[in-house]
């Protein structure tokens, strides 16, 4: 069965790979602009930020929790950056303060989940709104965009002079490899999967379940704050409602990547592939005439449902077969 499961996981990742190729071909067919380095760079920049946030989210979903406050934490970081820059703080100090604020935001989520014992879904829906509100209070209706071009270059120039490779994707690649190695090959990685599958057994085996979960929420806060800074520079603007709705895109990418919403399974490779399928699909569809951002929401929602549904298809099939057997039996009796 383990072999079957590995095979199933491979199939999922293979399917994503096929989807990636399919989307690429479709994109080229739709518009020649699809492969222009400008288009690829924009796509790349967008997805890099989401994909980086998807990494801590992957770990949190693997242990059976969720963090919906990621985009709001990003916004707090971005708007704090804006307001401090207006007050002429040195950039180094601003970065430290923003990251510390992200850690605090994650700590609050983590403490409410692990020490108070509230469900993370409820807690982070709460802080989703709370942090977003705080973010908008920090900066108000002003927008800050007078950042020096040496910072905002990350939104214009490619990484190491490669035109179509954004900084965000390069950073993601490094972090993804680190996360992947951690998950596959370290005792922490083993512990995360064990927690996701059976928290109680993990606890009985001496794994510090609460401490690990707390740490993951803090990590998520730090990473999201850092992405907040990066994203602000890419846009070269900090303003109200920055990154709104990102949390659902991040969750979609994680689930599309084959991470089980019930915890205990999932790989970084899957999530990375899912991020690019998602980004290229969006880019290709938006290049289609008469297709707009709203239409894409329909696609995005459908993808989310599909990625939860498909891994459980075998289960549904078995249930349907059982129901059918019962139905036939009843008819046989009445006959």
């Amino acid at each position: 069965m383990a072999r079957e499961r590995i095979a199933a996981a491979l199939r999922w990742e293979t399917a994503l790979l096929v989807a990636l190729a399919g989307v690429f071909v479709a994109g080229i067919a739709i518009s020649p602009q699809f492969t222009s380095s400008y288009s690829l760079f924009t796509t790349c920049t967008n997805i890099g930020d989401l994909a980086i946030m998807a990494l801590p989210m992957t770990l949190i979903v693997i242990v059976g929790e969720i963090d919906l406050s990621v985009a709001s934490t990003l916004a707090m970081s971005s708007e704090l950056l804006g307001v401090l820059w207006l007050h002429h703080w040195p950039m180094g100090l601003i970065v430290v303060v923003c990251i510390a604020m992200g850690a605090l935001a994650g700590l609050i989520n983590g403490l409410l989940v692990t020490r108070v014992g509230l469900p993370s879904l409820a807690v982070t829906i709460g802080t989703l709104t709370l942090y977003r509100g705080i973010a908008n209070l920090i900066l108000g209706a002003t927008s800050v965009s007078n950042f020096p071009s040496s910072y905002t270059a990350v939104g214009v120039n490619g990484f190491l002079g490669i035109d179509s490779l954004s900084w965000s994707v390069a950073i993601f690649a490094v972090l993804a490899i680190a996360t992947g190695v951690m998950l596959r090959m370290t005792s922490l990685g083993r512990s995360l999967y064990a927690i996701g599958l059976n928290q109680e057994a993990a606890f009985h085996a001496g794994i510090r379940v609460k401490r690990i979960k707390l740490m993951l929420f803090v990590l998520s806060g730090i990473v999201c704050a850092a992405v907040g800074i990066l994203y602000t520079f890419e846009l070269s603007s900090a303003a109200e409602n920055i990154g709104i709705g990102f949390e659902l895109q991040v969750v979609t990418i994680v689930l599309l990547g084959g991470v089980s919403i019930f915890g205990g399974t999932g790989t970084v490779v899957g999530v990375a592939l899912a991020a690019f399928v998602y980004a290229l699909l969006r880019s290709a569809l938006l290049l289609t005439p008469s297709f707009n951002e709203n239409d894409f929401q329909v696609v995005s929602g459908g993808l989310l449902i599909l990625s939860v549904l498909v891994p459980n298809l075998a289960l549904f099939r078995a249930r349907a077969r059982e129901l059918l057997a019962r139905y036939r039996g009843k008819r046989a009796r009445h006959a």
């Binding site: 069965m1 383990a2 072999r3 499961r5 190695v181 090959m185 370290t186 005792s187 083993r190 512990s191 999967y193 064990a194 599958l197 059976n198 109680e200 057994a201 993990a202 606890f203 009985h204 085996a205 001496g206 794994i207 510090r208 205990g264 057997a325 019962r326 039996g329 009843k330 046989a332 009796r333």
Partner: protein
């Protein structure tokens, strides 16, 4: 079957000639693997029918066919000689077949009576629930069974024995003709077992057909009239019990003779575990005892006397309010399994599936789970190192498995328990606490586990065993500590420890729990 509130067991008088319910050459396969092959079973009114076999022999599948959970692939189920098709558990219940599981699941916030009548409450005009009629009917059933449980008390906090009685009451108020009890005694203390047996006898004499599943053969001989033995999904024996011996049954179960075990005395050296005045409010108090290296100490007593809770407190999965735990003279930090593990303590928990194993993960992952730090090389664990480590320990404990990468859920109960043991032995503990080492494990594996415990003591490990099975206690223990209502009431040496002495110490002045009336 009218759902009247008046309990009536048998519509027909007992007629041993014709079975009430029978399976005729029933087969069932899951994903191509045969769980049952052409098994026939006849259940007669007024008879208690033992169903025995090693884990994985097909008992559960057979019960699920009778309970309507599964439908046979081949053969048929007959009720009163007529072939029937059960569309689901509800259908089976409607036709008078009731199943009482080892650990019943009641609604904890509803009263006993509400649980008994769940989904079919008697109504007063205006569709209001008739609580008085419910209480009356439940009281009547309990009176007939000779037990006293307040029908209005909330189900939360009922002992497993009491919960089973509630399930039995549920079956009786449905006028069940066939009562299937799946290992009902596994979690019961000897006193509770005796009370359950009186109830079973009462039901049988009223004409019910009872199916009794148990791993304890002594109980089978005590309560049953007929026996069916399964091995590898096939029936190897089915006949009246009269004239059979335990050895006959064991041979039919395992296909060979199993040697009876003798106790092996170990001499303790230095003290490893020292517990002083350990107290957790409302659970246990003033518990003091020691366990030496190379010694097996058993913690006996009724279920609910606080044995498991003391073990959990020592290992740190539960907190305690006062007292100290010392390992090799060093005080142990409270409430931290991680600290207990670094001090050399291991706990094989009572609930294997929930606490001992990650069922979906492989043997390798499970065995390595408590030794991850040891397996690290430069911060990294290689899958191959992990597999070799696990294979080594699985072999030492003679786990029967196909591949170390197969999920533990594919193993039988006995082999799963060996995996949990392997996980802890791989840490080379100085103190191993084993809670119910052989619950739900077949005869053959049971004696292997006992030999393992003995071997551990010989290797100088201090072993604390918690067990509800007195023969097991007497086989493995060098010393027996008895708990009653949260207190340590007796320490018996090997010579003093007899079944009678342990029962006497564990129950003196304590009323059997079902007669306890809770203050409302």
């Amino acid at each position: 079957m009218s759902s009247s509130a008046t309990p009536a067991v048998a519509a027909k008088p007992p007629s041993p000639a014709e079975p009430v319910v029978s399976l005729v050459e029933a087969s069932k396969a899951f994903a191509g693997v045969h769980a049952l092959r052409e098994v026939s079973l006849e259940l007669f009114a007024g008879e208690t029918h033992a169903l025995v076999g090693e884990n994985g022999a097909g008992k559960s599948t057979l019960i699920k066919l009778l309970a309507g959970v599964h439908q046979p692939d081949g053969g048929q189920l007959q009720i009163g000689g007529e072939p029937v098709f059960l569309s689901g558990p509800g259908d089976a219940a409607h036709r008078g077949i009731a199943v009482i599981y080892q650990e019943p699941t009641l609604f904890p916030d509803l009263s006993v009576a509400e649980n008994v009548f769940i989904g079919r409450q008697p109504l007063r005009p205006g569709r209001r629930i008739d609580h008085r009629a419910m209480d009356r009917a439940v009281n009547e059933v309990f009176a007939r069974l000779g037990v006293r449980i307040d029908p209005e008390r909330i189900a939360r906090g009922l002992s497993i024995a009491e919960q089973q009685l509630v399930e039995i009451a549920k079956a009786l108020t449905r006028s069940a003709r066939v009562l299937i009890m799946d290992e009902p005694t596994a979690a019961l203390s000897p006193i509770e077992v005796q009370r359950l047996f009186r109830v079973v006898e009462a039901l049988r004499s009223e004409g019910a057909a009872v199916v009794f599943v148990s791993h304890r053969l002594a109980e089978v001989f005590e309560i049953c009239q007929r026996v069916t033995v399964l091995r590898d999904g096939q029936r190897t024996l089915s006949r009246p019990l009269e004239g059979l011996s335990e050895t006959d049954l064991i041979r039919a179960m395992v296909g060979r003779d199993v040697l009876t075990e003798a106790h092996e005395q170990h001499a303790p050296s230095r003290t490893v575990l020292e517990v002083q005045r350990l107290t957790r409010e409302g659970v246990f108090r003033d518990i003091s005892f020691e366990v030496g290296a190379g010694e097996v100490v058993a913690l006996a007593g009724l279920v609910g006397s606080g044995r498991t809770e003391v073990a959990r407190a020592i290992f740190g999965v539960d907190r305690y309010d006062a007292g100290t735990v010392r390992i090799d003279g060093q005080k142990l930090k409270r409430g931290s399994p991680t600290a207990a593990m670094s001090a050399g303590v291991g706990l094989v928990p009572e609930d294997r599936r929930q606490q001992g194993l990650v069922m979906e993960q492989s043997l390798a992952r499970n065995i390595a789970l408590a030794s991850l730090r040891k397996l690290r090389r430069a911060g990294v664990i290689r899958a191959r190192t992990e597999r070799e480590f696990a294979t080594d320990w699985a072999k030492r404990l003679q786990v029967r498995y196909s591949r170390v990468t197969a999920p533990v859920s594919t193993l039988s109960g006995g082999n799963q328990q060996k995996v949990v043991l392997a996980k802890w032995l791989a840490r080379k503990p100085s103190l191993l606490i084993v809670d119910e080492p052989t619950r739900g494990i077949d005869v053959g594996t049971k004696s292997e586990v006992h030999r393992l415990i003995s071997q551990l003591a010989r290797d100088g490990v201090a072993v604390l065993v918690i067990s509800s099975e007195l023969p097991e206690v007497l086989t493995v223990a060098d010393r027996v500590l008895v708990m009653r209502e949260g207190q340590l009431v007796a320490g018996l040496t090997r010579e003093q420890a007899t079944e009678e002495a342990i029962i006497a110490a564990g129950t003196a002045a304590a009323l059997p729990s079902a007669t306890r009336k809770t203050p409302s």
